[in-house]
Point group: C2
Chain length 343, copies 2
């Protein structure tokens, strides 16, 4: 028994060369292949949504420093949300919805390792790539477990209108902190304060960022949730408060740079006994289900707004949408809805 | 009653301009003044040793960012060890030895606030500026309380032959860690391994530092005790290990720079869930006495070697000795013994 479409072809996105600066259509090509056949113990997944993640740019570098890399000639790594269309694995049945790091393609076979079953009754399928997925979970664990927040504390979120930042700021508010978001347009700033409940939103492209931070947080900053690195991180570091926390959850501004720029204001960590620390959401794997339950509850209570920035397209549109992400055109999680989408 | 020397003059060191790059004799001048008279409740201290501290360069900057600054026309800040030569304060008597931040001068009056009585039976007077003073206490609290060390862990000490680094590395060894010191000459490297018991010492001026670190610590580094910042910190950061700690106890390489250089390899904190944190020894003020007891005990047991790098000189020699410190000519704590020294 199979729900597999007859005569369908698998469109797959390959990287053709290491991008220089911003990655774009010139660095990729689509190839077509037959839809693969699952063997015993495997399933066939039909992708319905493609997650568009800024972090991809980091591993498309000509560097041996990274364990996970995309090299010229490789299928582009990426997470999808999709449907089981054929199962030869008792843990999955046809029609089940799953997410997994299956790469930017329409069809893939998997032995089930790394696939997560998702319940579309709790949240719509694309949300499992966003607020209910790795983006939201990153925000959740970073803010609840590492930022040392609470009433009376001030949280600054860089990249505040993004998939992770928009959730991080709202969770900061739920914990009682005063939340300042930094973003790149007046429109996005308005969205943060008017729809997501941020206390202050700063457009870093308008006026001096440091002066705006000092005005918004006269008693310095207790925690910085950093997504972007570069000058925005650097200016915020200059205003970090006593025993503050700087949580590094990504450095998107640096992924496109040949040479990564270090934040000279790291020196303020010294004076302020503050700490800057790395964070990887997979360290909390055991608690994912519990966190998703909490996120869903907050959504139902109207405390947390998840915005999925859904774009209709095909595998071949991925490079263009990825570029739009790097140009800051998204609000919340950017995903591509493929023609196959049913949920 | 007073032990005050008749006809003595007080030589005082003033900064005449903000130094550019390395600070040197051109930036200072000595002025003579009468020996001051203590009022009721005050004491007169005769300096016997001047502490020569790298951190001074940091506050001799034309920047409003620092709370404590030395500006053109100011007496140079500095810590001295000396003797009470006249007391009108019941907490001190003539002949008592003290340390305190009295500035670079032969005589000063104090109301006693910030003066510490020291016991020269436990350690010689100049050691109270070094291993028994702020340098040694910085090493002690940083390594024992913040570096998260123990058997099986690897500690890298930058600026390992300095006043703080040389003690930090030895305390790392006492805690059971494997200790790698980074220094600037083969002579100092030999001193670290042969006399202070460091497991490995690297001369960063010879060969590629990163390659040498990888060879010395094949399983990456658990803690970095950083004193120097700049390229040495940056290369070490690239080899920080999983959940590692980078303790910032100074950034001497940056104090002479007009523009501070940020460590681009801070990005490795992310991948490695590591943390870089500031540290200020005065946060441990309550535990100073207990720590000094422990340091003295380790010295008596032969586990800890304190090296005071004593130079005979006068107040006017301070700028030259300070310059030598910045050229890495010291081993351990650099102090000037003034002609008045009796202990």
């Amino acid at each position: 028994m199979s729900d597999r479409p007859n005569a369908a072809r698998n469109r797959q996105l390959f990287m053709t060369r290491f991008p220089e600066g911003e990655a774009g259509p010139q660095d990729f090509e689509v190839r077509e292949a037959p839809v693969p056949e699952p063997k015993d113990g495997e399933v066939l997944v039909e992708a319905q949504y493609l997650s568009v993640d800024a972090a991809l740019r980091l591993i498309m570098r000509d560097s041996k420093d990274f364990l996970f890399r995309v090299q010229p000639g490789d299928l582009v790594r990426g997470t999808v949300a999709g449907r089981i269309v054929e199962s030869r694995n008792p843990a999955f049945k046809e029609g089940d919805y799953v997410t997994g790091g299956l790469g930017v393609q329409n069809y893939s076979v998997s032995d089930g390792a790394g696939l997560s079953l998702v319940d579309t009754a709790i949240a719509p399928l694309p949300s499992w790539l966003g607020g209910m997925g790795v983006s939201g979970l990153t925000a959740y664990f970073a803010v609840t477990e590492e930022c040392r927040l609470g009433p009376g504390k001030t949280l600054v979120v860089n990249g505040a209108a993004g998939a992770v930042g928009s959730v991080a700021g709202q969770i900061g508010r739920i914990l009682g902190a005063r939340v300042i978001g930094i973003t790149g347009s007046d429109d996005k700033a308005r969205w943060l304060t008017e729809e997501l409940g941020f206390d202050v939103a700063i457009n870093y492209k308008k006026g001096d960022l440091y002066d705006q931070l000092v005005a918004a947080a006269p008693d310095r900053i207790d925690a910085i949730f950093d997504n972007v690195g570069g000058p925005i991180l650097n200016e915020s570091l200059r205003w970090i408060g006593m025993r503050g926390t700087v949580l590094m959850c990504g450095s998107t501004s640096q992924y496109t740079q040949e040479k990564i720029e270090g934040p000279s204001n790291y020196i303020w960590l010294g004076t302020m006994r503050a700490r800057m620390q790395g964070f990887v959401v997979y360290d909390y794997l055991d608690k994912f289900a519990e966190a998703q339950k909490q996120i869903a509850q907050w959504m139902n209570e109207g405390k947390l707004v998840l915005r999925d920035n859904i774009v209709d397209g095909d595998v071949g549109d991925f490079p263009d949408v990825f570029q739009r992400l790097y140009r800051g055109e998204n609000r919340g999680k950017m995903v591509i809805r493929l023609p196959a989408a049913t949920a």
